[in-house]
């Protein structure tokens, strides 16, 4: 196995003391397309947010190419869920993509010609160049998702986290996203994708993380995405974990 791009070591994440992810341990090798799969409330988005330092860890650590997120943020790209932002915001498509370059610029420096060229190139990659000057309100769901992907490309990262990029997009956009994922992989990037559609997991990804509050399995799709593991992920509620979490919450609130 080659370089490890992303590693989680014994990580627990809790909201208000109630654990939502228990003792996660996993390693992702560089250059893989990774599906993060699990039922609603399994902690898929939380896993990403914890990796990005957006929610505090109760314990454990996250490493990106062997170092903490704070040291490596320049090489990490992030696409949040489309609904997490206000599409009425007065910015154009190009403005949003330019935001992808802000991280490399650091504090105070303004994007210039170079950054605008990067933004335009990224827009071309997702077939959105003709709409560069549109206000983002006027876009369809699929187009909004493409803008977010272009922004992630502008981040010029080595490791990407995409939160449900396939949610509510048209078939053409879905195909475009898959193509883009393949392009990223062919240039050695690692991409983790929160994914809902079990039918397409085999087709889209090399690697899969099966999650339901705890890690069920993590590995290559052929050996990991099995009926048995899916049964463990989706079948039956994890009553013991749930009960323990509930007990901790109640104890805390007394």
């Amino acid at each position: 196995m080659g370089t490890t791009a992303f590693e989680i070591h014994d990580m627990t994440v809790a909201y208000h003391r109630r654990p939502v992810l228990w003792d996660i341990d996993l390693q992702i090798p560089e250059g893989k397309l990774v599906g993060i799969v699990g039922p609603n409330g399994a902690g898929k988005t939380t896993l990403i947010k914890a990796a990005l330092g957006l929610v505090p860890l109760a314990s454990g650590k996250v490493e990106i190419y062997g170092q903490s997120y704070n040291q490596q943020r320049q090489i990490v790209g992030y696409v949040p869920q489309r609904e997490s932002v206000d599409w009425d915001f007065p910015v154009t498509v190009r403005d949003v993509v330019l935001m992808g370059t802000y991280g490399q610029l650091g504090w105070f420096r303004r994007p210039g010609r170079v950054e605008r060229e990067i933004a335009d190139r990224c827009l071309q990659q997702v077939d959105m160049a003709p709409l560069a000057n549109r206000q983002i309100r006027q876009l369809s769901g699929g187009q909004q998702q493409r803008v977010f992907l272009a922004r992630a490309l502008a981040q010029a990262a080595r490791l990407y986290f995409l939160d449900e990029p396939f949610a509510g997009v048209d078939a053409a956009t879905e195909t475009a996203i898959v193509e883009l994922l393949h392009t990223l992989r062919s240039t050695g990037k690692t991409v983790l994708v929160v994914h809902h559609d079990l039918q397409t997991v085999r087709e889209y990804f090399d690697y899969v993380i099966l999650l339901n509050m705890r890690l069920i399995a993590c590995g290559p799709v052929e050996s990991t995405f099995t009926q048995e593991n899916l049964q463990k992920t989706y079948g039956g509620r994890l009553t013991l974990l749930d009960e323990a979490a509930e007990a901790m919450r109640i104890r805390e609130s007394q």
């Binding site: 990005l52 943020r73 949040p80 206000d86 154009t92 935001m99 802000y102 303004r110």
Partner: protein, 434 residues
């Protein structure tokens, strides 16, 4: 009346000879300083945070006054900034840790702090510069008579300093404010802490509020924070333009508000805000994109187009039947519902060169026939599609096709063609024109 208005404005614009000039300048500076931060409050859906902080700063002001023994600017700003931070911190903590809904925690924090301020004023500083009524409505009228600082009345000087600070922060943190307002989690992952930007903004709100306090009071300052920004948001869709426009709207409402206030002989700051509200109302009606008027206009344009197309398609069908009986303009209008809209539709088609009319006869021109053929084609393709793919009964397909035909362009026509097994005849056995 217009000349008097103009004279008042002109008079007001000559500060060296007029009391009004100082008042208008102070109004403009206050509005501008407020508008700059107000835009971000509006965009972050935190408009009421301005209200909260403008009340909560009172105890900070009193404490600053008590400690420094003066109304000089620096202690007041420090007090305000401190309260801005405390209010934000308390509101967020209550929401996060005590699980109080965010609106309730805001309501609890700012009212309690304001009450604390009132108690402090009554206990320690009554009879001095502080006056609760003045806190509410300010005293813009008295601005010209305040002691001068650097040749300017003190409230104007204070506001200009704050306007300057706000503009400097805006320029320095432009991209950070932009990204953290649009997508806070992305901003945080890039290292621009959304929390830090939130606090920065809240301190700006607190300091701006305090600077505007003496002139316009704690309630009207909320209007100046929010109303011009909300108006600008309706009118444009670029952040930079929105901020510039909200400053301009603020300035315009100060100027017109002053003129109207003098005319009606009433509270000037109040009048400025009423004018701002009026401009907002106008924007709601007239905004090119979201305005009520433009929505009505667009709606009407669509219904006129639909009527024109119905008329064309009808004439085409009449031709198809090869009947000798001509259809008159009058009959045609009646057939598409009559009234002024039908008359307009007819006139529109004639102007576009798609029909020729004489008093007793209405005929399609070649251009009109082409347009009509495309429509009828769309209509019959859709009917065929409904029967073939959705299994709808024959007598149910005309109405839906009649509605949809106006929205089927060439691309959709081609898609329909490729989906359908036969494109020669519609389900009623009529030819589908090419």
């Amino acid at each position: 009346m217009p000349t008097i208005f103009a004279e008042t404005i002109l008079f007001a614009l000559l500060p060296e000879i007029s009391v009004g000039g100082w008042i208008v300048l102070t109004g403009i500076a206050t509005n501008a300083a407020c508008a700059v931060v107000g835009c971000f409050l509006v965009l972050r859906r935190m408009s009421l945070m301005g209200d909260a902080i403008s009340h909560a700063v009172l105890p900070g002001l009193v404490l600053a006054f008590l400690f420094s023994g003066s109304m000089s600017i620096l202690p007041l700003f420090v007090g305000a900034a401190a309260v801005g931070i405390v209010t934000t911190f308390l509101t967020q903590s209550l929401h996060q840790y005590a699980r109080v809904p965010s609106d309730a925690s805001m309501g609890v924090v700012f009212t309690s702090l304001f009450a604390l301020g009132v108690v402090l004023v009554k206990k320690y500083v009554s009879g001095l510069h502080f006056d609760i009524a003045c806190v509410y409505e300010g005293s813009l009228e008295l601005v010209p008579f305040a002691e001068p600082v650097a040749g300017l009345p003190r409230p104007l000087f204070t506001t200009l300093v704050v306007l300057g600070i706000n503009l400097v922060i805006l320029v320095l943190f432009w991209k950070e404010l932009k990204v953290s307002s649009f997508d806070p989690s992305l901003a945080s992952t890039m290292g621009f802490s959304a929390t830090a930007m939130h606090y920065l903004l809240m301190v700006m709100v607190a300091v701006t509020t305090v600077a505007s306090f003496e002139a316009v009071g704690s309630i009207l300052v909320v209007a100046m924070l929010i109303v011009p920004a909300a108006t600008a948001h309706l009118l444009c869709d670029r952040l930079g333009i929105m901020i510039a426009l909200s400053v301009a709207i603020g300035a315009a409402s100060a100027l017109l508000g002053y003129a109207a206030g003098v005319w009606f002989d009433t509270n000037l700051a109040g009048m400025m805000t009423v004018v701002a509200g009026g401009i907002y109302a106008l924007a709601v009606f007239l905004s090119p994109r979201h305005g009520i008027v433009s929505a009505v206009m667009k709606n009407m344009q669509v219904s006129l187009r639909v009527l024109r197309e119905d008329l064309l398609a009808m004439l085409y069908r009449v031709e198809e039947l090869a009947s000798d009986k001509p259809i008159s303009p009058e009959q045609a209008q009646q057939a598409i519902g009559g009234g002024w809209q039908a008359r307009w539709a007819l006139r529109g088609l004639a102007r576009m060169g798609q029909i020729q009319r004489s008093p007793e006869r209405l005929t399609l021109t070649d251009a009109g026939r082409d347009a009509a053929r495309a429509l009828v084609r769309s209509h019959r393709l859709w009917e065929t599609f409904l029967v073939e793919h959705l299994g709808m009964p024959l007598d149910h397909v005309h109405q839906p096709a009649h509605r949809v035909e106006h929205y089927i362009d060439q691309r959709l026509q081609q898609e329909l063609e490729s989906e359908l097994s036969t494109t020669g005849q519609d389900p009623h056995g009529r030819e589908i024109p090419k």
